[in-house]
């Protein structure tokens, strides 16, 4: 596999050749931030276009097809519209919190976005406690949503925020347990090591067989709920809460929520592909050396994006199939079904690993 560290090291030595150490680090930070923000925007546009098309196809429609070939510039036009819209100041809102909330959401989303391993050696944030950091940073988003609902001085927004808080905090439990189960299997929390392990030993979903597959399914359900997406979109339930917690936001402040929602979907799928489907690790079949060699020629970034968009498609399939759950059904699903199941899976995985039943 191509190691992206070659590129980063080359840039590093190049900068150090004419800059002092601190300035080189600063320039590198800015470059990485630019790359992350650009990728963030590009993926948001791709995802919104993909969502609209896939939603249309599931509903036997064609979707946007007037702006550009197959409607490809439709999302750009929407972004332009969103950027030019006025941000309305309302009476009786908590001004500071109201303006801060969307930034908290987008910061949480970008922090978790930076955790994704794009390629071998192309991780931005890579600690030995990577998964832990991912969970912690992702939880900041809840604060943004709760603040948005509270500061808007609107009953709908408050109800939406409370539902969202209850939902996200609940589903965080089973996401944490599922990740713990996979950490039992991998023995490390670092995203780069998890990927490297899967490149060497095979994807986790094959290594962990039955418990890993069940964990993957639970992760998909809980991840969908984490992103506030249907069938778990109670917080923004259009038909009853108008738009939930972001009902009082306009212009780009609303745009941030919109962006964060889609990027959270992407991040959720990206983490699923990292933990379960090998991240940038190519698909290998033990014994077929020729086939494995061919697979190695496909760059890691392509593998990563391919798997991520596959999981995104799965999540969209779920979203456009099932009707919205009531809030009590939603919490019952988590506390009575998903959480006990993930606890059982954790024990099962621990037994499997300790008895050497994994590959």
């Amino acid at each position: 596999m191509f190691d992206f560290k070659v590129v980063t090291n080359w840039i590093d030595t190049l900068l150090l050749s004419f800059l002092p150490g601190w300035a080189a680090t600063l320039v590198e930070c800015v470059l990485v931030a630019l790359a992350i923000i650009t990728l963030y925007a590009v993926f948001a546009i791709i995802l919104i276009y993909m969502e609209r098309k896939i939603c249309a196809f599931f509903q036997c429609r064609l979707g946007p097809n007037r702006v550009g070939k197959w409607g490809s510039i439709q999302v750009l036009a929407d972004v332009l519209k969103m950027l030019t819209k006025e941000i309305i100041d309302m009476k009786n809102v908590d001004r500071l919190l109201h303006k801060m909330a969307p930034f908290l959401v987008i910061v949480a989303s970008m922090l978790t976005f930076a955790c994704l391993p794009w390629n071998k050696g192309a991780e931005v944030l890579d600690f030995n406690i990577g998964i832990f950091f991912f969970l912690a940073a992702g939880s900041i988003g809840v604060v943004g949503i709760l603040l948005a609902g509270w500061s808007s001085n609107n009953k709908y927004a408050l109800i939406g925020a409370m539902r969202s808080g209850a939902q996200i905090i609940s589903y965080e439990v089973s996401i944490g347990l599922v990740m713990l189960t996979m950490i039992v299997l991998t023995g490390t929390m670092s995203f780069s090591e998890i990927c490297q392990q899967q490149a060497d030993l095979g994807w986790n979903i094959f290594r962990g067989h039955i418990p890993a597959v069940l964990c993957f399914i639970i992760y998909l359900i809980a991840g969908n709920a984490e992103c506030n997406r249907g069938p778990f979109d109670m917080p923004e339930a259009e038909s009853e809460l108008t738009a939930g917690y972001h009902v009082e936001y306009s212009g780009m402040h609303f745009g941030f929520y919109y962006l964060a929602e889609y990027l959270n979907l992407f991040i959720c799928a990206g983490i699923a592909s990292t933990i379960f489907l090998g991240g940038w690790a190519p698909f290998h079949i033990p014994g077929l050396d020729g086939f494995n060699h061919v697979m190695d020629y496909i760059p890691g970034a392509v593998w990563m994006l391919g798997k991520t968009f596959f999981v995104v498609f799965l999540l969209m399939w779920i979203r456009w199939t099932f009707p919205r759950l009531r809030i009590d059904q939603l919490l019952a699903l988590e506390w009575k079904y998903l959480m006990p199941m993930s606890l059982v899976l954790l024990v099962l995985m621990a037994i499997c690993v300790s008895l050497g039943l994994t590959f």
């Binding site: 896939i54 599931f58 064609l62 399939w317 099932f322």
Partner: protein, 220 residues
């Protein structure tokens, strides 16, 4: 017991969710039903029962079936049909109602199809043409009978055929006419009875009869 319900409910739920996913996946690959209208104007065909606007079909001799009875005008809840008739004297001295002008105001039609159900002759129907927009409301009032058209004569065609057909039958087969003759007589008798009754009396009685009768074929 409750444990049993828990697990059976869980598996039943998973099964039904999978069925739902299967349905949407099938839908994902079916041909999309969206009509891209301005582009596909040429090949776009509305379904047969679409009610676009009222028309009066004419045959190749510029003849329509309207006898000017005015039942459609009475059936119309919006008053969007206006039938103008005149009394003409036929060669045999009988007075006969004849259609002069059949005006239909598309602007206040609500496409309920009551006029078509009321028509004893099947003279009017809805076409599937839906591009009805005009710049002037006056253009929405249309005259449905074409200029110079007249009502299609049924009797002169039907009468010579009926005796001609009946006579050879009676000569050839003595058993058949008993069954054939009442049938042939009954057929011309029905329209003959209906035609004078409707214009002459134009009362509620024939309307109700006619409405109940043609409704079944119309619904089918």
């Amino acid at each position: 017991m409750s444990n049993n319900n828990y697990f059976s409910g869980l598996f039943f739920g998973i099964k039904s969710l999978l069925i739902g996913l299967g349905v949407t996946m099938k839908e994902f690959f079916t041909r999309k039903i969206t009509e891209q209208y301005p582009e596909n104007r040429k090949e776009l065909k509305m379904f047969d029962r679409f009610r676009g606007r009222l028309i009066m079909p004419h045959n190749e001799n510029n003849e329509h079936k309207c006898i000017g009875c005015g039942l459609c005008q009475m059936a119309c809840p919006n008053g969007s049909i206006k039938v103008t008739t005149e009394m003409l004297e036929a060669e045999d001295g009988k007075k006969k109602r004849s259609l002069v002008k059949y005006e239909y105001d598309l602007g206040c039609c609500m496409f309920c199809e009551l006029c078509i159900t009321a028509c004893p002759q099947g003279a009017i129907e809805f076409c599937t043409d839906f591009e009805n927009a005009v710049f002037d409301r006056a253009k929405l009032v249309q005259q449905l009978n074409k200029p110079g058209s007249k009502v299609a004569e049924k009797k002169p065609v039907a009468k010579p055929v009926a005796p001609a057909a009946a006579k050879p039958v009676t000569e050839a087969k003595p058993v058949a006419p008993a069954a054939a003759e009442p049938a042939t007589e009954a057929k011309p008798a029905a329209p003959a009875a209906a035609k004078p009754a409707a214009p002459a009396e134009s009362a509620e009685a024939p309307v109700e009869k006619k409405e109940s009768n043609p409704e079944t074929p119309a619904a089918v």
